[in-house]
């Protein structure tokens, strides 16, 4: 690698560098202020805001970083900074910001103030892992960033140690994750054997040659998919999700369900797009290299995922767990955006994620605020809450309706674009299945409403009121959910301009 290249490369990873520095500052601060840790969250907040700022100014500064010297494909590096990555990074950093806000008022997190420094450090570790996952174009970097994300999340999901279920969640997550990443690593090794490289672009050009062994390639891809599928919790690699989501602290559950999933999807999309797509035609349809039947795989996986998620959610009595299954179902919907293999589909994914972030985090926030008060996430404990806590009740209603995908909420726009993409690709049958699934999903979302509103409050039903900051936060999320439902041009514009993935 030439040194000239290094400076350019460094300029492309400024957000990551800022993030790393913030992490180090945080750790240092934690050591310095070990008596009074009140300031730590603000350090984290500052770090995230800074990172966000640098992420945003990265717009326009696109290119490959860290090109391999020995390669014949010199202009492809192992790190790509492109509009696509910026979009997902923004999703990640915004949700991180929200998670920090959540953490301010989460009872669970308040109980571990003495370890708050580690908590934020690990969150920063997660963010860093996600950032690299989003931009990585080299399988090894992918693997390591995934591991960085995973290791931090393992710890965080068992971080509070308040209940049995925390450590149980951590252990399950750890074992499941380790195996999945092990499988993935083995798959990567096979790809390495087939092509001699771990760089996605090089692999792409090599597998276009006819002599590649398809079976082995398929085997390797499936193994790698197992690793990614676990991250985005798509069936049948989702089994950890409900257990971990239920066990982990709410803030972490929320973070996992949005940011971690976004990173996973970014990874999957980049992996598929850069490795297996030969070119994009003028209509925005991606032409797959005929080596692996991604279409069949993804269609079946996404249908399975959403069906399984929705139908399992029907029976959940714990709201966190219900939301876990619902997030699995949403992963299924989002996968549909990839299934169409077009820019249109990608756009739908972008929009869906932006929207999903708002509504899902909103829902988790409310579950958290209520859990703070009543100490439970069981749906039966929500009886009559809609009357005693009107503000949170209404907000929760809007989030749930948005999750169902009904207008005039943003969730509808997400679904709309998804179906637009599907219909555009003439995949009507799939669209019908997805639509029917969203009807099923109505059952369990409305079930919450039923408990909140259709059951009259008793004397024991507590009145949950949000503090002023939380009120503002909830209102902001509600407002965004409604506004984007009625005026979605900004989201769509942003998605439209983020379509570009470096490479082909």
């Amino acid at each position: 690698m030439a040194n000239t290249n290094l400076y350019q490369s460094l300029s492309l990873i400024v957000p990551e560098i800022v993030l790393t520095i913030a992490l180090l500052v945080l750790v240092t601060a934690d050591l310095i202020f070990h008596k009074d840790k009140k300031s730590i969250p603000f350090v984290a907040l500052a770090g995230i805001l800074l990172t966000g700022y640098f992420t945003l100014i990265q717009i326009g500064n696109y290119g490959f970083a860290f090109q391999t010297s020995a390669s014949a494909f010199k202009h492809y590096g192992m790190f790509a900074s492109d509009p696509f990555s910026i979009f997902f990074k923004v999703i990640v950093i915004v949700s991180s910001l929200l998670i920090v806000f959540f953490s301010f008022s989460s009872d669970e997190i308040q109980k571990i103030t003495d370890r708050i420094g580690e908590y934020y450090a690990l969150i920063f570790g997660m963010i860093l892992g996600m950032y690299f996952m989003i931009s990585a174009t080299d399988l090894i970097l992918i693997y390591l960033s995934l591991e960085l994300l995973s290791l931090s999340s393992y710890v965080l999901s068992g971080f509070t140690k308040l209940r049995d279920r925390d450590s149980e969640a951590a252990l399950k997550y750890l074992l499941y994750g380790a195996v999945s990443s092990g499988l993935m690593l083995f798959g990567i090794s096979l790809i390495y054997g087939l092509t001699g490289s771990t760089n996605l672009y090089i692999i792409n050009s090599l597998i276009q040659s006819p002599d590649v062994n398809l079976f082995t390639l398929a085997f390797a891809v499936i193994l790698i998919f197992a690793g990614i599928g676990y991250k985005i919790s798509s069936a049948p690699f989702h089994f950890w999700t409900p257990d971990v989501y239920e066990g982990a602290p709410i803030t972490i559950t929320a973070f996992l369900s949005v940011a971690s999933k976004a990173a996973g999807f970014a990874l999957l999309i980049r992996f598929v797009k850069t490795t297996f797509v030969s070119y994009t035609d003028p209509n925005g349809m991606w032409q797959l290299i005929n080596v692996f039947d991604w279409k069949t795989l993804l269609i079946s996986i996404s249908i399975l995922t959403m069906t399984l998620g929705n139908f399992s959610a029907l029976w959940q009595d714990n709201l966190k767990r219900m939301l876990a299954y619902s997030s699995i179902a949403h992963a299924g919907y989002i996968l549909l955006g990839l299934v169409v293999f077009s820019d249109q589909g990608l756009k739908a994914i972008f929009i869906y994620f932006a929207v999903y972030m708002l509504m899902n985090l909103g829902a988790f926030l409310i579950v958290m605020l209520i859990a703070n008060k009543i100490g439970s996430e069981e749906i039966d404990d929500y009886n009559g809450l809609g009357f005693t806590s009107p503000f949170l009740g209404v907000a929760f209603t809007i989030f749930l309706i948005s999750l169902t995908g009904l207008p005039p909420t943003a969730g509808f726009i997400g679904k709309l674009y998804l179906f637009i993409a599907l219909v555009d690709a003439k995949m009507i049958a799939v669209a019908v299945i997805a639509l029917l699934n969203s009807v099923v999903s109505l059952y369990y979302y409305v079930r919450v409403l039923k408990h909140m509103y259709l059951t009259s409050p008793t004397k024991d039903t507590p009145a949950v009121s949000a503090s002023l900051p939380n009120t503002i936060l909830v209102s902001a999320l509600v407002l965004a959910t409604l506004v984007f439902g009625l005026y979605f041009s900004p989201v769509v514009d942003a998605a439209e301009s983020s379509l570009f993935i470096l490479g082909l």
Binding site: M1, L23, A65, E118, L148, K161, L194, T195, F215, F219
Partner: protein, 165 residues
């Protein structure tokens, strides 16, 4: 059969047989020791593959680090008074069938695939070249790995330490 081959089969046997014991012995402490042999075997295979530096790292990190960690784990999670630290097994049959099929598939893949074979000169010692690679081509990963270790440190420490009560 050349000497190289004989050495290979020797290491292969050590690796696989001890690995088999690792996963089948009921005594955890025994398992840990069998794992030691497995790691040694793998290190030998690395040597055969001309990867001396990796072999050394394997022994140092795995045997010197990970294995010790695992042994600590065994000791800390079992009452020492119990001489025979045994562990049960679960779902042997489905696992055996599934893994059997799986192994068949993997082995078949390995055999039937026509890998890219190209005779090549591997330098006798690789340390310097690896070092060079680490700060050029793989510098990003290298640095990232550093952060990963830091995070792992923080994480492990924070989760394992006793709460101040």
């Amino acid at each position: 059969m050349t000497f190289y081959d004989i050495i290979f089969y020797l290491f292969a046997a050590i690796t696989l047989i001890s690995a088999l014991f690792v996963v089948s012995t009921r005594n955890i402490v025994y398992s840990a020791f069998y794992l030691l042999f497995t790691f040694f075997g793998v290190a030998g295979i690395y040597v055969l593959l001309g990867a001396d530096f990796i072999a050394v790292v394997q022994i140092m990190v795995y045997v010197g680090g990970i294995l010790i960690l695992l042994l600590f784990g065994v000791m800390l999670t079992n009452k020492i008074t119990n001489v025979e630290i045994r562990t049960g097994t679960v779902q042997l049959l489905p696992a055996a069938i599934g893994i059997g099929i799986f192994m068949g598939a993997v082995v078949a893949v390995m055999i039937w695939t026509e890998w890219k074979l190209e005779p090549a000169q591997i330098p006798l010692t690789t340390t310097k070249d690896i070092g060079h690679l680490l700060i050029t081509d793989y510098v990003l990963i290298f640095e990232l790995l550093g952060i990963l270790l830091l995070i792992a440190l923080i994480g492990a420490a924070s989760i394992a330490r006793r709460d101040q009560e």
